[in-house]
Symmetry: C2
Subunit: 196 residues, 2 copies
């Protein structure tokens, strides 16, 4: 059977979600498709590149258009929540995206979209990019933490003390951090307006 890049990425997403990132090996993907490992290198030059495609697929699947009639900062919040939801929707999603990002690949579309939205708020290009980067770092880091703790709670048996309310606390802490950054951005806006 002959496969396309998209078939391979889909299978990889399935393996990731069912068995986790450590089991997402080239050999595993190949064997689930009934292929030799070497066949994958006809579609992707390396595992890193394949993983980048998987990460982008996760984020694309979670992608939602901005709601109508929202201000720029409401749209930034919506996009950030969307990124969080997309990563949380798959096992080890945050770790995968972070790994791919650490390698210098992936997640360029969400970043560009955030930057454009901030620019709509009247900020200049370079500030908008830096602010978008700050938000991306926060979102990746926070969701990574959340998923790590969720995993720790599901593996161990510490649910008696911490469990239950934890996801609500995670959500609250996510919203708080996001607000902190947005307040910082808005402050620059008012400062600029007051001067200009």
């Amino acid at each position: 059977m002959r496969y396309h890049r998209s078939d391979i990425v889909e299978r990889a997403v399935d393996i990731l979600d069912q068995y986790g990132l450590p089991d997402l090996s080239m050999r595993r993907i190949a064997s689930e498709l009934g292929l030799q490992p070497s066949a994958l290198y006809h579609h992707f030059t390396s595992k890193q590149v394949l993983l980048a495609a998987v990460a982008d697929e996760l984020l694309t699947r979670g992608d939602r258009p901005d709601a109508d009639g929202l201000s720029w900062d409401e749209r930034v919040i919506g996009q950030s929540r969307g990124l969080r939801d997309a990563m949380l929707a798959f096992r080890d999603g945050a770790e995968l995206v972070a790994t791919v990002h650490a390698f210098g690949l992936g997640a360029r579309t969400p970043h560009a979209r955030l930057a454009a939205t901030i620019r709509d708020g009247g900020f200049d290009e370079s500030f908008s990019r830096a602010a978008a980067t700050t938000i991306m770092h926060f979102v990746f880091g926070h969701v990574s933490d959340e998923q790590t703790h969720l995993q720790a709670n599901s593996v161990g048996a510490i649910d008696d003390v911490v469990g239950g309310g934890t996801d609500r606390a995670d959500k609250a802490s996510f919203e708080l951090g996001l607000t902190l950054i947005l307040d910082g951005i808005r402050l620059r806006h008012h400062a600029a307006s007051a001067v200009g």
Copy 2:
């Protein structure tokens, strides 16, 4: 020869700095010490635990006490810069710390110190912790990015266009993001002061 945990960690730090994270294998560490790989498991229960010790060693080596007579927010900035410097001082330092953190280990001391400093600013415990978390995420993410780009520039030959001023731009973008978050925190302070 008989080694202690600290000897192994020191060797691991050397290997990391000279050859990078991908070459930091249990077999490599063992062979540089003249040991069998299995000997390492007498000192560390797993590679992850060893890596956590290496990450903490990096951060400890870069540790500087707060300067005298600084306000809480100036101390937060100083500590954040210190973390950045510590990670940048070693090859793949940021990626190592991020990896260890994603596994749920390490970097607890810097986080606790940041949270305590923010609490000194008059914020309550849970807010201080969440704000410290936001800063840690930003620092890890940003420095990871910086190191990735530095690496890309040193491997490839793209210095003609981007190179040269890049590290200064990185530093500036780090300071900007940090300011954004701190402004958000300070805003909460003033809001609370105005009410209380």
